[in-house]
Amino acid sequence: MSNPALTVIQLSDSFRTAWYDLAQELEVELAIVAADDTPALESVAVLLAAGGEEDRALDLMPSLHRKDGVPVYLVGAQTSHRFAVEAIRRGAADYFALPDDLNLLRRTLSARTEARRGRAASVATSPEVEEAFGELLGRSEALRETLDQAARIAKHAGVTVLLQGETGTGKELLARALHVSSPKAAGPFVAVNCAAIPSELMESELFGHERGAFTDAHAAKPGLFEEAHGGTLFLDEVGHLPLPLQGKLLRALEERRIRRVGATQSRAVDVRIIAASHVRLVDAVQRGEFREDLFYRLNVITLTLPPLRDRGDDVEVLAQAFAGQLAERYGLPVPKLTAEVRDALRSHSWPGNVRELRHAIERALLLSPPGNLDPKHFAQGRRTAPVAVDGAIPFPATLDEVMAAAARVALELNDGNKSAAARQLNISRARLARLLGLAEDES
């Protein structure tokens, strides 16, 4: 094999000497070419050196994409994250702003050269990064594309990322991997499921409150923004944020300051936001349920996790991995995936995605003979009525008892609101009253 080359597509004369120095340090040939020349075949990497021609470089980027996997890095003088994001969007493997990022570029090229020479299997990453991305198991092209893009943007900690994907596709895992791979990795990672917080408590949960801010605020409490200071705040199901709070979040993102509920002073926070939604936020914007300005602030880069049904053989890779992990948890022998199991895995569409698959494997592992997975146990068969609060629905019991108990539980769940309880049970208020043993006028 010939000595590999560093190919530089030079749009201006800036930093020309830096390329010679880099090539010498890396012990590779240097091939400086014009934009319309063909880059060297044995390239370690291609640098598109903008040097004041940044707009032209962006226009050129899509045409430089290499099918052989050789990365094309854009190098320029622009220091804004937005420019970096745009470069990556157009296909750059990464963007380096010189002179600030020269050392970073040197390390990246050095790692590439090592990999190219076969001294290392891949671009150098930390064990934590490999572990974080490694948890997103699978080798399908659909998943790999998303993970490759994620790996490229991870180091730009100032960039806000929006993760889209159906429920159970692994959005939190990807958010965590982005955090671990970012310059904020030493800071905290705080995950919040906005759908799980009552709207009236959301502001206090996110931003904290001072003592006496509201009736129950007997003492000050820090919010999750403060807990995430210096790290990443992952806002899952961000579409559930109430509109007034969306404005407060936007201000926090723009000013990098937050104010606790009831506070007179704001405080600085250094937090990277990663937001996620299982529905298309743009639709919520059109319905007027999500602020357009916040949407564009969050949507600097969108990463979409594919549903399991679009991930080909990944379902088997995941199933085998889950079978191994869960067998260890339950002290059982690790089962092999038989042809019957593989057929069953492929024939199901997995609407609940990876989470559903994991639960199915757990169920089959526990209910099949040790060391086996019987696909008939993937899904739950006979279902009894769900047992509500405190196991309050008596079962087995007479139908009258079950109905009376259901009425009582529905009333409790609806804070004594009989109309709401009746609606939940899909019966009239009068019938609810009879079930509760109340006279009509009491209801």
Partner: protein, 339 residues
């Protein structure tokens, strides 16, 4: 619920070393003996008082724990040691919590939380938040409880404590379960299991698997729940954790009841109740009485079921959980009505 109390391991005084070592080994009576052998001058220090308070807590002497921890707190405050003051405040509040003095516990945990957050002490912040979640849960304020558990989980993660995370997720799973929010409960239990495995804590793993089994039961998947609670029961016995065993037996009671095996359900429930009584753990006792009442009701033994509900109500009331007590009384009076 899983309470977070200090272990006493961060008290640095040399004369206290052997007591501290005994504490860490779980030999609480030996720790108390070692503490008592120390000179009178040492026994007046806030460090000694705090370690003594933690020992009292571990020995189940909650009133002495609280009184001694408050002395320690004042001592630390007098010498301007905010870190010590925070730990002592948290311990005193834990004592109040165990005594069912929920208002005092809440005030103490809140003060300790404020101090710990001000110091940037993530671990103590997390402990206090977890304990405040427990108070809110006992008082029946589930939304606030979950808020504190969220803060606890984030702070425990910042502090790198897998064990703490497992506790906070487990507590969240229990609250979601009570709210009949099965998906959230299952997700929280799964996270608790993963964190307990990372922490290498078999006792917590048993509790988390039991919580997971209960979500399967709530979903009506009796077969899966039986397999999961079986593993939880094995682990609780392997790690000699009677409280986890009592909880697993309670869930097994529900599994057998929903399977129609009422004799087995009675046996499991009575075994669990015996353990809870031996441990003098009123919360576990109340939950077991409540679930046994369902079995008794299903067997047509209405009078005994009524008595079990009344016993559960009394226990919940002692713990300050008025809403739960009221619900138990309602069920008892329902049984008294002619059908």
């Amino acid at each position: 619920m899983n309470s977070s109390i200090p272990t006493g391991s961060s008290v640095p005084n040399d004369p206290l070393r052997s007591a501290r070592a005994a504490m860490q080994a779980g030999q609480f009576q030996q720790a108390w003996n070692a503490l008592n052998r120390l000179a009178e001058t040492v026994r007046q220090t806030p460090d000694w008082l705090l370690l003594a308070a933690v020992t009292h807590f571990r020995l189940g002497e909650f009133a002495r724990c609280r009184a001694t921890a408050l002395q320690a707190r004042d001592g630390f405050r007098g010498r301007g040691d905010v870190d010590g003051e925070t730990r002592a405040e948290n311990t005193a509040a834990a004592g109040a919590f165990a005594l069912g003095q929920l208002a005092d516990a809440e005030q103490g945990f809140q003060r300790a939380l404020g101090l710990a957050h001000h110091l940037g002490d993530e671990f103590t912040t997390a402990r206090c938040a977890n304990n405040l979640g427990n108070v809110a849960y006992y008082l029946g304020d589930h939304a606030r409880a979950l808020g504190f558990y969220r803060l606890a989980t984030a702070s425990f993660e910042n502090a790198g404590s897998w064990q703490g995370m497992a506790e906070a997720w487990l507590n969240s799973a229990i609250v979601w379960r009570d709210d009949a929010n099965v998906d959230q409960s299952r997700d929280a239990a799964d996270r608790a299991i993963a964190a307990a495995e990372r922490a290498g804590n078999g006792r917590l793993l048993a509790q988390a698997l039991a919580a997971r089994a209960e979500t399967s039961l709530t979903l009506g998947d009796v077969d899966l729940a039986r397999a999961q609670v079986g593993r939880a029961l094995d682990l609780s016995r392997e790690y000699a954790d009677p409280l986890a065993e009592a909880d697993a037996l309670r869930i097994l009671t529900g599994v057998e009841r929903l399977s129609g095996n009422l004799d087995r359900a009675m046996n499991a429930g009575e075994d669990g109740l015996a353990i809870a009584r031996r441990l003098e753990h009123p919360w576990a006792e109340a939950e077991l009485q409540r679930d046994l009442a369902l079995v008794l009701g299903a067997r047509g033994r209405a009078r005994e079921a009524q008595a079990a509900y009344e016993a559960a109500a009394a226990a919940f009331e002692r713990l300050g959980s008025a809403g739960r007590a009221e619900r138990m009384r309602t069920r008892a009076s329902d049984l008294a009505k002619p059908s």
